[in-house]
């Protein structure tokens, strides 16, 4: 395909990405240097790095940062181990696999805010698990600023585990039967088989799921917002904090919110650039 045909095919998509992704990102950088209030959008005022200074000295920013790190550090590994175990189990099921798959996929593709709402219902007054808690511990259960963090973490695991499961499951389908059989003939039991045959086969996928899940959990918004609203500020993740400072009624500071978005983008790219560079090399190698 020559260059002109290529651009003919890609121009609509590239135009959309330039106009609605590159340009807005540049706007974000510019807005990050402005003093700009939500209720007075017509008078931006250049204030240099003040928004950034303001952010980095805001204890709520650091609280959100800490919680996001803890959140990612717990949710990602647990999700991956659970997903792998479930995929291994599913792989051994003959009949009824699609029924299990349908049920297990539901939390992942349900509307995120609805997923959080239905999960929250279990812990509300009169909810099933709140009642169980009361029966077992003899104390009434209420969602408060102490336990809401744990509820958010558990619900996030519930929410994203199916993604890891389905990806590993797809990977297991491509595992050549001969290699398993060869290992079995050599006398490998289940664990050695898992360690020496299955896991190496899934290595790329494990990296992939780890990366995607880390990114998704780092930028989680909907699910957490449903649990906290604008209360429980301790349990806000970076994105919830970001949207709150930018759009909260009356105190919304769009400039500060954009500065925060810039920090987020920088944070993501610091992690991502090695992977992007590797993909770029792969792409170039593939083309020649």
């Amino acid at each position: 395909m020559n260059r002109r045909t290529f651009w003919g095919f890609t121009v609509p998509s590239v135009a959309v990405m330039l106009l609605l992704m590159v340009f807005p990102l540049l706007t974000t950088v510019w807005l990050g240097f402005q003093k700009l209030l939500l209720r007075d959008l017509n008078n931006p005022e250049w204030i240099g790095f003040d928004n950034y200074r303001d952010l980095l000295s805001d204890p709520e920013f650091w609280a959100a940062f800490r919680f996001t790190m803890v959140f990612v550090a717990i949710v990602v590994p647990v999700t991956m181990v659970m997903g792998l175990c479930t995929a291994l189990l599913l792989d051994r099921v003959g009949r009824g696999r699609s029924v299990y798959l349908a049920a297990l996929l539901l939390p992942f593709i349900v509307t995120p805010v609805v997923g959080s709402l239905v999960y929250k219902d279990l812990f509300e007054r009169g909810g099933l698990l709140a009642w169980l808690w009361e029966v077992i511990t003899d104390n009434p259960f209420a969602v408060n600023s102490g336990n809401v963090k744990w509820l958010i973490i558990i619900q996030a695991i519930w929410n994203v585990m199916p993604f890891a499961m389905i990806t590993f499951f797809a990977g297991l389908q491509t595992l050549p039967e001969e290699r398993v059989e060869a290992a079995a003939i050599d006398g490998a039991d289940f664990w050695r088989n898992l360690w020496h045959v299955t896991l190496p086969h899934l290595r790329v996928l494990i990296l992939f799921v780890g990366l995607i899940t880390t990114m998704d959990m780092y930028r989680v918004y909907d699910q957490v917002f449903v649990w906290t609203g604008n209360r429980f500020t301790d349990a806000h993740t970076l994105q919830v904090y970001n949207v709150r400072i930018a759009t909260a009624f009356d105190i919304g500071r769009l400039g500060k919110g954009n500065a925060m978005a810039v920090l987020t983008v920088i944070g993501i790219f610091v992690v991502l650039i090695p992977f992007l560079w590797r993909s770029y090399k792969d792409q170039i190698a593939e083309r020649v």
């Binding site: 095919f9 998509s13 709402l117 009169g126 797809a170 949207v243 759009t247």
Partner: protein, 358 residues
């Protein structure tokens, strides 16, 4: 070669059953809540069996009148569903299925159009329509430009192709918040300009839709669609590209030897082979648009879609809104359940493809 004893098989299914319960328990509980009377929901000990059921919550969420027999509404939905399934099944068995699938769309359209004429619907019905309009438009625009770009990127060997792909991959990792604030600001600026210059109140013959007298961006479905198309583009082009890579070059080259132009070869030869890919990518695009919350909340303060409507319901704490929110949750989840059941194979394949290639 796997010899399994009864005991290990039992253990396997028991473990999976526990996992299934962990996955669907919240949904079952919410469904129960949605069909209970308020007194049972508010009871100190959960009423698990033998409670009286009611459709009050559904009526309160969807309809304006409180004397409607909900069985008649259910019958209406069931009849529409049966007609659609029948037409769809016929279409699948035909060589040219598209007239049948088109008539499914027509039936759904007619049913949605008739519904508020038979029963007095609430605002929430408008939000459902918004959800559907946003989802369908996002799918159409996103998939058509994505298909073209995916094809170009799969076949072109220059450096610029690789650069576009990598930049798109980077964008895919960025959070909504990096885009929603500039979108909001930009839309506001455009709207201000439209009002200031008076362009917004011009009468364009083409966009003179009934009910729209001023042209604006903020608080319209168009704003949501544009935002969703943009953030969905990186995913779409990667997905389509990986599917196009599987189609051998020789196929369209043969068609082009026979005198077809590249565009003709693409339309007549390649696209018909791509339906599984289009369905898989379309499913994910559909879920993205249907599930969107943040963009709608910020860019459309009154033109809500269903997720925003549901979250706004749960602001209150009385048990009346608990049942109503539950009914709303069930209503919004049911279409997704139908999608999983109908398209499970495509979903699994799509997730697998994204993973193995990406």
């Amino acid at each position: 070669m796997k010899r399994t004893t009864f005991l290990s098989r039992f253990g396997l299914h028991a473990t999976l059953a526990v996992l299934v319960v962990w996955s669907v328990l919240p949904f079952l509980w919410t469904f129960q809540t949605s069909i209970k009377f308020t007194r049972d929901v508010a009871a100190k000990e959960p009423v698990l069996w033998g409670y009286e059921t009611t459709a009050n919550a559904y009526r309160a969420f969807w309809l304006d009148a409180d004397d409607v027999n909900m069985w008649s509404v259910l019958l209406y939905i069931a009849v529409v569903a049966v007609i659609c399934i029948a037409l769809g099944q016929i279409g699948r068995r035909m060589r040219h299925g598209w007239p049948w699938f088109a008539s499914v769309a027509l039936v759904i359209f007619a049913a949605l159009w008739r519904f508020p004429k038979i029963w007095e619907a609430n605002d929430e019905y408008d939000f459902l329509i918004n959800s559907i309009v946003v989802t369908v438009l996002t799918m159409i625009i996103s998939l058509s430009i994505g298909l073209l770009a995916g094809y170009g990127l799969a076949r072109y060997t220059g450096i610029s192709g690789a650069v576009i792909l990598i930049i798109a991959l980077g964008f895919r990792a960025l959070p909504r918040t990096a885009f929603v604030l500039p979108y909001f600001f930009g839309a506001k600026e455009i709207d201000d300009w439209l009002t200031r210059t008076g362009v917004g109140s011009w009468n364009f013959p083409i966009i003179d839709f009934p009910g729209i007298d001023t042209l604006q961006i903020l608080d319209t479905r168009l704003a949501i669609v544009l935002a969703l198309v943009a953030v969905n583009q990186p995913f779409t082009i990667w997905m389509f590209r990986s599917f196009f890579m599987e189609v051998p070059k020789e196929i369209e080259e043969a068609a082009m030897m026979d005198g077809a132009t590249r565009l003709q070869a693409f339309r007549k030869v390649i696209i018909p082979m791509m339906w599984p890919a289009i369905i898989a990518t379309g499913l994910f695009t559909m879920l993205l648009a249907y599930n969107e919350y943040l963009f709608v909340r910020v860019l459309a303060p009154t033109e809500w879609t269903l997720p925003v409507a549901i979250v706004s319901l749960t602001g209150g704490e009385s048990s009346r809104t608990i049942t109503e929110a539950a009914a709303a949750s069930v209503s919004i989840t049911l279409p997704i359940v139908v999608v999983i059941i109908l398209f499970q194979k495509h979903l699994v394949k799509g997730l697998g493809a994204g993973a193995v290639k990406g």
